[in-house]
């Protein structure tokens, strides 16, 4: 059984989602795969390529009572591609230093592995990226959403 389907059924059994919601989630999950498989014979990579990386932040501070703050950032994917290419041009010694600095900050990424060969794959993988963060304290509500469109 598909891992995502298993997770949805698990959520259903735990009562986190209703039967209708579970059905919608499963059908939404199956939709792209069926489209993809039907397109596969016609052209490779038939899925629409995302054009933008979006970051949306909704924040509300209950103490200040001055209304919510909304931040909306839209970055073209082409800029990410160009950025990765620029990272590839950085000398290896500098990348090693950057790797060490990032490891110290708890972000273990090997920048020396970023090469034009796997650039497209890297950006393609971002198209499936969705990050949702909901934080609700007594006074603060923050919702962060990162996705590609």
């Amino acid at each position: 059984m598909n891992e995502h389907r298993r997770q949805i059924l698990q959520m259903l059994s735990e009562g986190k989602v209703s039967a209708d919601e579970a059905e919608r989630l499963i059908s939404a999950m199956e939709e792209p795969s069926t489209t993809k498989s039907s397109d596969m014979g016609l052209k490779s990579g038939g899925k629409d390529r995302p054009k933008y990386l979006r970051v949306q932040v909704d924040s509300e501070d209950g103490d200040r009572h001055d209304g919510p703050t909304k931040v909306n950032v839209r970055v073209p994917m082409q800029l990410l591609r160009a950025g990765v290419k620029l990272a590839y041009l950085i000398p290896a010694a500098a990348l090693q230093k950057a790797n060490l600095a990032m490891q110290e900050k708890g972000f273990p990424v090997d920048l020396t592995q970023i090469k034009p060969d796997n650039l497209e794959e890297l950006v393609e993988q971002l198209s499936d990226l969705v990050v949702d963060v909901d934080q609700k304290d007594a006074n603060t509500k923050v919702k962060v959403r990162v996705f590609c469109e």
């Binding site: 054009k51 933008y52 001055d66 209304g67 919510p68 703050t69 909304k70 931040v71 909306n72 950032v73 839209r74 970055v75 073209p76 082409q78 800029l79 591609r81 160009a82 950025g83 290419k85 620029l86 041009l89 000398p91």
Partner: protein
């Protein structure tokens, strides 16, 4: 194509909105002679760092071109602003 215009919109508490159209073309025209003057130094720096200067110029051009359609909006009840590169 490199971006030609940046639109900055600022909204104050009194619901006054200031919209600025910044012609980036003028900035590029000003930066171009400076870039040409700095080109030999950039070339030497590239040789020292063992970076292909043509490749570097190509990537920088790509970054500049990719800036088109970048958008940043910040909205609050009291004030707000947005920055859009066209």
């Amino acid at each position: 194509m490199i971006p030609f215009v940046a639109v900055v919109r600022l909204r104050s508490q009194e619901s006054r909105t200031l919209r600025l159209w910044i012609p980036l073309v003028l900035i590029w025209l000003l930066v171009l002679p400076l870039g040409i003057l700095l080109l030999p130094f950039i070339f030497i720096a590239c040789l020292v760092c063992r970076v292909n200067p043509l490749r570097l110029v190509g990537v920088l051009w790509q970054i500049l071109s990719a800036l088109t359609d970048t958008q940043l909006d910040v909205e609050h009840r009291t004030a707000g602003g947005s920055f859009h590169i066209l």
